[in-house]
Amino acid sequence: MRTSPDAWAAVRGRPWEFLASWWPWRSIGYLLTTVPVGMTVLVSLVLLLGVGVVTLVVVVGVVVLAAIPRVTGGIGILERARVRLVLPRDDGGAAPTLRERLLAGRGLRVSWSEIGYAVLLAGVLWVVDALVLLFTITTAVVLLLAPYLVRFDTLGMLGWDIDSTREAWVAFGLGIPTTVAAAYVVTGVACGQAALARLLLDPPEHRLVQAVADLRRSRVDLVGAFETERRRIERDLHDGVQQRLLALTMTLGRAELDVPEGPGLDLLREAHEQAEAALEELRFTVRGIHPRVLTDHGLAAAVDDIADRSPVPVDTTIMLPGRLPAPVEAAAYFVVSEALTNVARHARARSVRVRAWVERDRLVLTVVDDGDGGADPASGSGLAGLALRLEALDGTLDVHSPPGGPTEVRMECPIDAG
């Protein structure tokens, strides 16, 4: 048998499946618990309001009245939990928990819709629920038990007096469709009330905030997945093609020893040189995808590695507490790599300083050269792509390059990203 995801879906589904399911019982449970909860809320609100207003003259009342949003917030949490009895699928996203609320203290703004819901619950909902339960359940139960109850006394039912066994069995017959109808009524009321609660407790703007948070997380995930993929490609190339090419150069080297001087050896040497050129090119490509030294030894070693290959002398000062998350390390590495490439190509600089440090849980990295400046960050597509990548990690990339220099590339990125 299929199981419905929530009571509302069950009501709209096949009747026999609905009736055989737990949903009518859960709905009864929901409405039944509304009664004591609503009564308690009523008493609490009246007390708070009463005491608050009375003591307002001695200022204490302000504190008492200010506690109302806290209380209604607590009610909201209880009610969100109770709504799951009938609508378990939570499409509203996670509201702050009681603990978060207590920790946040006054930081959280007053939620008028929560107060409104509490008033509604205290004043209307529990009374309605009590009446619905009383009417539907007693009617159904009395009709079904009529053949038994009639032995003791005459039963009065909406102006119909049941006093014979025959009439009692007719009542029993009517009791069956009445029970079915009662199940629908109870579940319908429960669904309506739960939907109302959810609307007031998890208003649409809250869902929007949640959606934005989800979106942000998925974007970070995407950057992470991208990074993982790059590493995989790097590993495949390094462990596969690169080793094969290396083995090829070894074989060619061996063959050179055995082949006598002449055109054959010349061709062999040419092949050897080509294989080495291919290996060099592959190594360069692999480094551009994801350098092995970054994976193995972290950002400082990898930056030293690029600095060593730079034609312009580079002074590096990397002060980090330890390894950073992989996406942050990779972003920082490529910023340095791109910045140093640009310096070598355009800046006519005599020296470059690369600095990196952590400041208030953010990685700050600067690349400053003493060249002519005037660099246009928009024209450097490499840096623009890196800026996008950093944006996904909630980081920033700024290029400051007045004519005459110096040019500063500054990257900042929270280190808890990813």
Partner: protein, 215 residues
């Protein structure tokens, strides 16, 4: 010469073995990880160990640590370490444990140049220190502004880089296309500028004094 090879990539392991065997060396074993290397060295006591740096299980520096362990237990065994990329952090570990037989540190690409590679192997077996020219070049570039080599001229640095490979004055002269007398003059001024450990081979010492410090 009795050699043990440690290299995890089967293709390269076989290539290395073939090259060494062709040169007349006796390849006792070619193993795929550091533990097997250590076990085999205990068992067979070779003259030379040729090992990759990255090896299973973690692919970090198992081969290097194995080399250091071999050096500690059997200082007389010469060691040639191969690396897929330049990582001078490894070099200090190796050189700090240097007393004993020869030590070599070459990039794997160098193996393709079979004659040079075999020459390096022989020099290491004779107790010399051979450092890959690319590695030396990089170290020299990094310490441009400070350290004992700051006073060296560009040409002197080039000469020192070639010395680090264990080359003779004649070979250096040929490489730089200068006269041997000019090389001798450069070597003399390097020795004057770089602090030298007395009683050591001056050529090796000049290189090591610098390399140790920069690790």
């Amino acid at each position: 010469m009795r050699v043990v090879i440690a290299e995890d990539v089967a293709l390269l392991r076989e290539g290395l073995a073939a090259i060494l065997e062709r040169a007349g060396h006796d390849v006792l074993a070619a193993v795929g990880d550091a533990d097997a290397l250590l076990a085999y060295v205990e068992h067979a006591e070779p003259d030379l160990v040729v090992t990759d740096i990255r090896m299973p299980p973690d692919f970090s520096d198992e081969g290097l640590r194995a080399a250091v362990a071999v050096r500690a237990a059997h200082p007389e065994i010469a060691i040639m370490v191969l690396s897929a990329y330049i990582a001078d952090a490894y070099l200090a570990d190796l050189l700090d444990n240097a007393p004993g037989g020869g030590i070599g540190y070459l990039l794997k690409d160098r193996v393709g140049h079979v004659r040079e590679f075999l020459d390096s192997i022989d020099r290491v077996a004779e107790g010399e220190t051979v450092v890959d020219p690319e590695v030396v070049r990089q170290l020299l570039r990094r310490r441009r502004d400070d350290g004992p080599l700051a006073a060296l001229t560009q040409r002197e640095r080039e000469v020192l880089a070639l010395m680090a490979q264990g080359r003779t004055n004649g070979s250096i002269a040929a490489e730089l296309v200068v006269s041997e007398a000019a090389v001798r003059k450069h070597v003399g001024s390097i020795f004057a500028k770089v602090p030298i450990e007395p009683a050591a081979d001056r050529r090796v010492s000049a290189v090591l004094a610098y390399l140790r410090e920069s690790g």
